[in-house]
Symmetry: D2
Subunit: 331 residues, 4 copies
């Protein structure tokens, strides 16, 4: 049974990855590490996960004996750890932004100087539904951001068909996406009974969405604005597409049905989904509407930002990398 370590398991996504691996029938969770909470049992931080392991300080010689690693570090700090793990022969799924963008200049414009630009070309973008074969063969998988996961799944069939002339993506997200570090912006009193846009015109997930839509065939800069909602987990993306030509509801539905036929974690649903419908699952629910009044196409996408948007997609990718069924351990 392959052994896996989770590097950075004290954050929300890392802890969920640890939980999924702990219960996984074909992986052994060998160790969990954390930079700040080393020495604390994970259940002290997350009683509901019921993972009876203690967070350790990262010791590369020790964790380097595992077969694979999930790295859940912030951007900029992930790359050096990833480099060390790859050098020791582990297969790595990285949850940070460090290896998502193919152009180092784009990364450095939006983030920081890249610590290991030479590794970028070795990384496969870990959107399971788009890069399944590449993921299976990869040593390094860069899991997409939560918003790009939903946005690209929502738009891929239209992008690939050259049907996107313009698109506005209005995103609504829960507070867990902001991380567990207490801040003014995630104080309960600031969030409850409120809704507020943030990162207006400047969110770092935009270049990632642009990159993938362009790769699919839609080289348009997206309009993308996230809004913070009083929910803990869950993400809803409302995508308003100006198509390059008129599409009927039937044609729109047909396009998606064909593209996503057989996909185990894509649900094409008949009414606009709520995020509760996909909570704590690896599912992306999509709903389609060809608007006769305006000629626009609406695509609504719901995911759990911590699951399909991060941790469970990482496990699905790990399954593929070890020749297992993509959905193993994910119900």
């Amino acid at each position: 049974m392959p052994s896996v370590v989770v590097i950075g398991a004290s954050g929300y996504a890392g802890a969920i990855a640890a939980d999924l691996l702990w219960r996984h029938p074909q992986f052994e969770l060998a160790a969990i590490t954390a930079r700040e909470d080393a020495g604390r049992p994970l259940h002290e931080l997350y009683p509901h996960h019921r993972v009876p392991l203690t967070l350790e300080q990262l010791e590369l010689d020790r964790v380097g004996r595992a077969d694979a690693a999930i790295v859940a570090y912030p951007h900029g700090t992930a790359a050096p750890v990833v480099a060390e793990l790859l050098a020791r022969g582990l297969r790595v799924v990285d949850l940070s932004a460090d290896f998502r963008l193919r152009e180092v200049s784009v990364y450095e414009h939006w983030y920081v100087p890249h610590p290991h630009p030479e590794l970028i070309e070795r990384a496969v973008y870990g959107l399971t539904e788009l890069y399944r074969a590449e993921i299976a063969a990869a040593a390094l998988v860069a899991c997409p951001g939560c918003f790009p996961t939903a946005a690209i799944l929502a738009l891929a069939p239209l992008a690939a068909a050259g049907l996107i002339a313009d698109v506005v993506i209005d995103a609504k997200t829960g507070v867990s996406g902001m991380g567990k570090q207490p801040r003014d912006a995630n104080h309960f009193v600031a969030v409850t009974e409120n809704v507020r846009p943030y990162g207006v015109g400047a969110h770092r997930h935009m270049p990632e969405i642009d990159q993938e839509l362009a790769a699919l065939g839609a080289p348009v800069p997206v309009t993308f604005t996230p809004h913070l909602l009083p929910i803990d987990e869950g993400e809803l993306l409302s995508c308003y597409v100006t198509p390059t030509r008129a599409l009927s509801q039937a044609e729109l539905e047909g396009l998606y049905a064909e593209r996503y036929a057989g996909e185990p974690f894509i649900e094409l649903v008949a009414t606009a989904p709520g995020v509760r419908d996909v909570r704590e699952t690896n599912v992306c629910a999509l709903n389609l509407h060809a608007d006769e009044r305006t000629g626009k196409l609406f695509v609504f996408a719901a995911i759990d930002n911590l699951w399909k948007g991060t941790a469970s997609q990482a496990i699905a990718n790990l399954n593929l990398m070890f020749g297992l069924d993509e959905g193993l351990g994910l119900r």
Copy 2:
């Protein structure tokens, strides 16, 4: 001191109107009526309003002695009552949709056969900031819907300048907008930790927004989708405008500053507003962003759907109709 009755004070908006009138320095709240809860003290339904009046059955001869009425009935049922009250010489502020749309055919397409089409031309559209003079002189004021209030205030300066080529409005609203009747969709368990689009492509506030934008100079069908959030009051509209020509941030801000100079209840704010910032006020907060990346203009508008979106705007209009300061009794 002019006497005012509230017809339909058992709903959320009617009850707030009653509360505001009860504390108003220049109006006397003469009576409150309800169709279903007649005989019950209002504080039984709404302890926090502390209005020591009892809901009465509507008796037109009795309420007809007042100087003015606020009618808070559902569409289709409001018009007959409004007609009776006008016939008795009262000045009427109607909160329903019955007199908002100028074309009876448009009304009948979206709602029901119109009970009193002959009164439509006597009605003034009660968006205070746009029709102040007409409201002051009107016998019948049709208060806008909550979404149109925010949408039109958000877009009026651009529309009037002929700058809107296309617009997507993504709206987020609290549950109170759905009314107080218990339904599956407003059950706490259905709403908490959830967010969901509704009325996709079919919301009745669209023709109202279209009508007013066209009147201002932007004859474009709006793309408009509301989303239900786990909050009770408050509405945030994120408007994404494709302009007819490029605008800089400074030009955009200048346009709004000029248009809304001196407006007591419009706040142009430097960062994207949350709905908590305007809770239980008559304020519409607007934030502007000229997006260099896409060339689009973003306008974020926050109001309280029950206050500026309904009840407090009604009081502001009533103030104008009786020659009082628009903000009297609204802080």
Copy 3:
């Protein structure tokens, strides 16, 4: 593989029971029925359960071919169905109050005339931890109410040791306990940012708690008050015991550790639990505090009202009735 039907699967608890059975490795979910929603796929009502069955009208001849049934009907309506199912030889787990109270007169005082008093003596009270052997042998198991489940588990060790002179139980519960029927009291606007006692001095779970505490050795009428909180699932009981003699913290902890040694779903936790810690689990978390200042003993108990408080406890009991591991299908 034994086949099981869920009678009344359109309510919250019945639907969870169906979901747990659908994924259960050793039971076959043969059918789900509902009185009002027959003909609708269950996922229409509960998309997140992903149970691909359609609710049927109850036909006793058809469901009577199953090996067992979970009945999730309201009190008074459950007993006649239970009687029919028993007559057809099924083993039945009933979630209603109909067979919880051993004295028919007590039942009829708090509820309605009992439709099948002759069956009461055949029923075993389904609190797994207290009646494990009897449940395994029973044809009819009456699952406890959600509050009694937590209250009795919280107090059993003290009651059995004759240590309870008096007890105040202050309960906090989520909205799902009230059922899915929309009502004024579960309207989102009534619940959010609010907390309110209900059923003061008159809650029907009191006689059930009294009965079981008396059976254990504490014949005291409990003081019990539930409060409605703005959460969907979860129940926290704060129990304040006046003991018959002084107890130290160590003695208190020893008493519980001994009584609950080996219990798979009782967690004795070092700090007062939150309901999130046990959400969607069959766990009852207990925290103990011997208060030096007042001499009182505090016991805090957290469960998920729909899981341990209803549906998952039913599955645990069903497991026992068919000789399976109590925790099968419950993680």
Copy 4:
């Protein structure tokens, strides 16, 4: 018009006090100060307060020219400022715990070494309903903690009549009571869909409640446990009294009606109150239940922890200190 300064206006309670004074018809808000946010306009921190003043660094010579001060500093840091202000002749309402406890040893047991024990005897305990005359004459008023405010108002009539043999107080509170400093415990994700006891057996408000109940005639140590709820403002106390003799419902109600006759901010309500009923008011709502089954007396008390529990009670006291109507500026 007397001028008032608010020292420490960047916290929740100080900011509300500033807002109430800004709109007060008979006080002038002369200045607002803060230790950490000096230089920032208050509306940047609290847009909804709409107070157009900027937080200043505390300069005693400048603020010392005012007639009165509200001090909203943490315990231990308030006393030195209070001493300086008193020395300059200001009348002071202190919101901290520094002058609430009459015994310096009790204060030092629960808090820190007292910086100014010599001032304790000059302080009047600012529970308006109990010490109205003393407050009017005082130079220094020590506003009660939020829990003691509700607890003492809930129990005073019984305590004064010698009717309390024992009492259990189970308190439920919103997150704002914990202050605005971001912490793990007030992170939205930690609070939503959760409820949790805290400060079990060790909350600092216990000695304050004990002191005042003893002064009234009930020298019993209270059992008191607060619970954190997913609400922002509001506090509900459920008090379970074992009386020294049996009382009927009528006698219980009569006792409270008599004691609180004419009280402008005490509401005796017929059904158990929710905290929403008193949100953003100076009201304490009380509901009474003589429980026939157990002989206990239940008293439910609801207040807004930031208003009656802190800031609005401070304004009421300030009104009394300057000979004004107690409710001026509080609706």
